[in-house]
């Protein structure tokens, strides 16, 4: 069995467009949430969203690459470019080694709808243009990045709802652990536009605290009223410990545990039992006890039921260990397909800068969250081991554990 380490991270999110900006936002407890008037015009119940600019890649990528990229692939390109540079993986390395990619993504709504709109208006498929097919397939991020970075290893997209990014890292970990890959680019990407979130808004999942956007995402707080959608992309470079040492790469952390489960129940209702099984499996895989975990990055999205069920699952597994818990979604909103990857990046930034980012807007506990040690203001803390949860529709659960290498 190979040890699996992280040697590079990159992120493009509503709280910063690179790891340095994101680290500062996390430390300050800065919210990236705003109000999108267009959503209101389109009939959204809630116009709240994570706010981030769509990148301009004209100076970075040839027209032919850009033509095939929807916004989520653009976010993922920037996050991956940053992560590869941090990992000191250059063009020569990519050309002479088998590097794979596993990226979480679960929608391409904007590209699909805009393509179909042209077909309907023009009654002609050619006029949809050559990029539409590559932009609208669910594997758009992996197909674009594998082409841009000339990757020769594993290459597919992981679609596991809001646990997609976490499962992508888990799968990369599994392949490297078992010697099937040496280096895998893992991550998660999420489009940020009204088309992708209309139906989600339609089931009343979103907070309607529109008069206070930065206070709307309040995981675990008694007065939470729903999640705030968000997005961007985050990348982690996974490789075998041996490979990283041989290259002289800086090791940011070691993935020591991956747990997963399916609830086997309702399509949108969470499950304490299912979530707890994922947590327990990751701890067993890591070979550690709950006392060894210094920080839990919760999935908690700020929905009334979801947060309560996760709080119960964490309490069931961790008991009275009083491990610090925060949901960074209080600042970022719910980054959906990206979240499982971005929250590994956020937690790594905390680990390397010895602080726990706050669960902002946690003002009043409810019966479930009162049993956890939820941190509402930034604290300085040494983190040797963290656990990150991601849960999604259909009852898919993922838990990852990362350890600092000293």
């Amino acid at each position: 069995m190979n040890r699996v380490v992280i040697t590079g991270i990159g992120v493009y999110s509503c709280i910063g467009q690179n790891v340095d900006e994101v680290r500062d936002s996390l430390f300050k407890g800065k919210s990236g949430i705003g109000f999108d008037a267009i959503r209101k015009e389109m009939g959204f119940r809630s116009a709240l969203t994570g706010v981030l600019p769509v990148p301009n890649l004209k100076d970075k990528l040839h027209r032919r690459f850009r033509n095939s990229m929807p916004e989520e692939a653009e976010y993922a390109f920037l996050a991956t470019d940053e992560a590869l540079k941090m990992a000191k993986i250059d063009d020569a390395f990519l050309d002479n080694n088998i590097v794979g990619i596993l990226y979480g993504n679960d929608s391409t709504a904007k590209a699909t709808i805009e393509g179909v709109d042209v077909m309907r208006a023009k009654k002609d498929t050619t006029l949809m243009g050559s990029g539409s097919i590559f932009q609208s397939m669910n594997s758009t991020i992996t197909m674009n990045l594998s082409t841009i970075f000339r990757l020769k290893g594993i290459n597919f997209t992981v679609s596991g709802a809001c646990a997609s990014g976490s499962h992508a890292i888990g799968m990369g970990y599994f392949l490297i652990k078992h010697g099937m890959q040496e280096t895998v680019i893992c991550g998660g990407g999420q489009e940020v536009n009204p088309y992708s979130m209309g139906a989600f808004d339609g089931i009343s999942a979103f907070s309607i605290r529109e008069n206070e956007p930065t206070k709307a995402s309040r995981p675990f707080d008694k007065n939470r009223d729903g999640l705030v959608p968000s997005g961007g992309a985050a990348t982690v470079i996974l490789e075998s410990y041996e490979n990283a040492k041989k290259r002289g790469a800086t090791i940011l952390g070691e993935v020591i545990g991956y747990g997963f489960s399916s609830n086997g129940g309702h399509i949108s209702q969470p499950s304490v039992e299912g979530s707890a099984r994922s947590l327990k499996m990751s701890l067993k895989d890591a070979g550690i006890s709950v006392k060894d975990v210094d920080y839990i990055n919760a999935h908690a999205t700020s929905t009334p039921i979801g947060d309560a069920f996760e709080a119960r699952a964490i309490h069931e597994v961790f008991g009275d260990a009083k491990c610090p818990v925060t949901s960074t979604k209080s600042m970022t909103g719910h980054e959906c397909w990206m979240a499982g990857a971005s929250e590994i990046v956020y937690s790594l930034l905390m680990m390397h800068n010895s602080f726990v980012a706050p669960n902002i807007n946690f003002e009043t506990p409810d019966d479930d969250s009162a049993k956890l040690n939820i941190i509402s203001k930034t604290i300085e803390k040494n983190i040797d081991v963290f656990l990150s949860n991601s849960f999604g529709f259909g009852g898919t659960n993922s838990s990852l554990i990362v350890k600092k290498i000293k």
Binding site: R63, R64, N67, D124, T126, L127, G129, S130
Partner: protein, 82 residues
């Protein structure tokens, strides 16, 4: 629209949409080689023609278009036919 206006419009979208170097666009230069066009790019050429001149070019129309001048002549003729 005069022929010169058509040519300027074509050069405009070749620079904007296909990011062509205007200095390399000369009447006798090869359209395909200068713009480094592949099969997918020809689809997008059909799209920009439709957007700019309101007619749908067919794939076979490009068989005899070798140079920029051929391309200009083709567009000028199709615009005149409308």
């Amino acid at each position: 629209m005069s022929n010169q206006e058509i040519i300027e419009k074509i050069n405009g979208f070749l620079v904007d949409e296909f990011e062509a170097d205007i200095n390399l666009i000369t009447p006798e230069a090869s359209l395909k080689e200068t713009l480094d066009l592949d099969s997918l790019d020809f689809v997008d050429l059909v799209v920009v023609i439709e957007n700019n001149f309101g007619f749908k070019a067919k794939g076979e129309d490009f068989v005899n278009i070798k140079t920029f001048q051929d391309f200009y002549d083709y567009i000028i003729q199709r615009v005149g036919d409308k």
